[in-house]
Symmetry: C2
Subunit: 423 residues, 2 copies
């Protein structure tokens, strides 16, 4: 078995400098099952991070669906196939009826990129409004709308940022007003530059900004603001979507709003590369009239079989209810842990999307950035995987597979307790 | 079983207006094996079009590799995994040694989009030079560099086009000079607009332009021209790559040039969504220093297992030699058929990438556009699948799985003979 150092050297040589690894001591994983990941030395880790494997690592039902369809036929959407139609029907049934069409891609980046193309065609505007530390993808236009990628990526000339809705302790009306004020200010700034807004594009749990699940309902005034200015509201559900937030199947639905476009990806195929968007027919009309969209692998029979099996498991095993129950228990337990550890600040979340702020001063919410790095690495040493998020990197990001149980939440909290005590 | 009309209606309702179908009477496919596709009524079709299923539809070795790895572990490249390293090593071994790093994506569009980001970072220029009817992908910046998508897509302000290298009957020196003249003219035009060239980006068989496989070697002067101007040469191998051209494993290698970046996709996973690029380390350095590139599904263990199995089959079954032999036989047979049918103009190709020009006047090479549509639909009725390409849509595009045998080529030519006689 190669050593970690050998693998890292080989990786740098073959894959080059754009690749990054997690942890001071990177993990060499070889096997996964349910909420557990196993390294090459045979050690197992509780996965509290990987939302992609939403129904659990290597879920046999998804594996079987992929294998069966791959052995039968894998083509593309220029031939008729019932798989893509059956899945589109099931997917659209989870969404508000206004969102009548589904378009399939392979990645969330492709979905967000296409959403911006559609929004620009429909509105005639180019302006895009995002949150200050947003992440929306890695294509050229999305990198320019993803400040969380770092300072080297310049924002696009038609991109404006607004402060994230940091106000878990506020009333929805107050936080909604503040967030909408930011959007109105960004619209005015676009207008001042001679630009029309095409869209407000937000991740509805604001994951890279620091996980702001806020009080339910705070998004409506911002949606109203972008609509008044002739722009669209695009809900980036690549992270919150597919039952994770517990309170709803989609993150936006917690807020009672109906987006013009909903983009999705990561958990959709439990790791199989499948993604897409849902869109109001009237918003899709101009793009569809002028423009074909053909994605060679998008919506292929195998991807649709994988995605369909994932829906089967989420719905059949009531994983949305599980996310709500276990996520609620997790938040309660973490808040209790905060009574023992002054480093723990706000604990916020919806379902199994939870953020734990680490602060050196609770009143001032001073980011404990260095401590967060040590906690993340300490947890990895102690056998629990998670990461940190937010502009200062001081917010623990908990986003486990949806099959996470109460006992797993307890193990996580207990291990965090030990790591914090040893810090 | 639903009727074709019912499926078409359901499709329009669920998937909306951006989706297109092949053929006047669209195909409802349910099963595939080797070079054969089967429709819902039990009829089989000879597949002379689908390059994605390069080792044959539903190849058991690829299916088995996908199923085995999916049942074991599917994660991402922020953990160490030998699968991505082993595959990168094998892939890079098929390329010139100058191309030292591999970066993985899920689609050819993502690979080309990333290649442009890398080229722009390395050169500091923005200009992109493409052929007049190029197709490079569906992200926002690639659609603006894909005139074959249609007139509604405006070329990007930094995109310039050059005439495709239409000169199968010329010497390589003469065609090379003409093509390079176009590139120099485009560079001058960029300079005149105050822009620096970042890259010359070409599909090395010029598929959407009309399949210009030309005499081997004609690309070198154009590559020299872009290098002299400080730009990069990006070989878009999404269609020609992976042994298809028979004479070499990569389309550019037929021309004896070494690209700065090579992008790849379609056949890489025999339908599994996997793609990527290979790049000179010195070209990747600036991007990698400034910028991480993380593609959630890109280079995951299952995608790498699929891609690795495809390489096993291509190499183990000597499919490059097969493409050369069967492709050569196919071109000879089609040229012989041209002696019977005046509609057949130039027949050109490399390996199993073949174009058959249909013309109403051979001397003037007048495009027989309407006839080409009737031939494509006539062949579909007669049980052979192919398509048409080129700006006038008058060039039959033959691009079968690489396991296409002499008997399949004969069946294709015989069926084309019958369709042309009945036209």
């Amino acid at each position: 078995m190669p050593t970690t150092a050998e693998l890292i050297e080989r990786r740098a040589r073959l894959l080059g400098p754009s690749y990054r690894l997690f942890y001071d001591e990177p993990l060499h994983l070889v096997r996964g099952a349910g909420v557990w990941l196993h390294d090459a030395a045979g050690r197992r880790y509780l996965d509290a991070y990987n939302n992609v494997a939403c129904v659990g690592h290597a879920h046999p039902q998804v594996v079987e669906a992929i294998a069966r369809q791959a052995a039968t036929l894998n083509t593309h959407t220029r031939y008729l196939h019932e798989g893509v139609l059956d899945y589109a029907e099931r997917l659209l049934a989870t969404l508000p009826p206004e969102l009548g069409h589904a378009v399939f891609t392979c990645t969330g980046s492709e979905a967000n990129d296409l959403a911006l193309r559609i929004a620009r065609t429909h509105t005639g505007g180019r302006g895009v409004i995002i949150t200050r530390f947003a992440y929306h993808g890695v294509t050229a236009i999305l990198a320019e709308a993803s400040p969380s990628l770092g300072r080297y990526v310049q924002l696009g000339d038609a991109v404006r940022t607004v402060p994230a809705p940091d106000g878990d302790d506020l009333h929805a009306e107050e936080l909604g007003r503040r967030f909408a004020d930011g959007v109105r200010s960004a619209i005015a700034d676009l207008h001042a530059a001679g630009l029309q807004p095409a869209a407000l594009l937000v991740d509805t749990v604001f994951s890279s900004d620091g996980i702001f699940t806020g009080p339910r309902g705070f998004l409506q005034p911002a949606v109203d603001a972008i609509h008044e200015a002739g722009g669209l509201f695009i809900a980036d559900e690549v992270q919150p979507g597919f039952a994770r937030t517990g309170e709803a199947f989609w993150g936006f639905a917690r807020h009672g709003v109906v987006p013009d476009i909903v983009t999705m990806g990561k958990p959709m195929g439990n790791g199989h590369p499948v993604a897409g968007l849902a869109v109001r027919p009237e918003v899709m009309a101009a793009f569809g009239r002028q423009c074909r969209y053909f994605n060679t692998f998008g919506g292929n029979p195998v991807s649709m079989a994988a995605a369909s099996a994932v829906l089967d498991v989420i719905q059949g095993q009531a994983l949305q209810a599980n996310a709500l129950a276990v996520g609620g228990h997790l938040v309660t337990s973490l808040r209790q842990l905060g009574e023992k550890h002054a480093l723990i600040g706000q604990v916020r979340g919806a379902g199994l999307f939870v953020g734990v702020e680490l602060v050196t001063d609770r009143a001032r919410r001073t980011p404990a950035t260095a401590e967060a790095t040590r906690v993340v690495n300490g947890l990895r040493e102690a056998g629990v995987l998670l990461s940190a998020t937010g502009e200062a990197g001081h917010i623990l990001k908990l986003r486990p597979p949806l099959v996470f149980e109460r006992q797993h939440a307890d193990l996580l909290v207990q291990t965090l307790d030990e790591v914090l005590r040893r810090l």
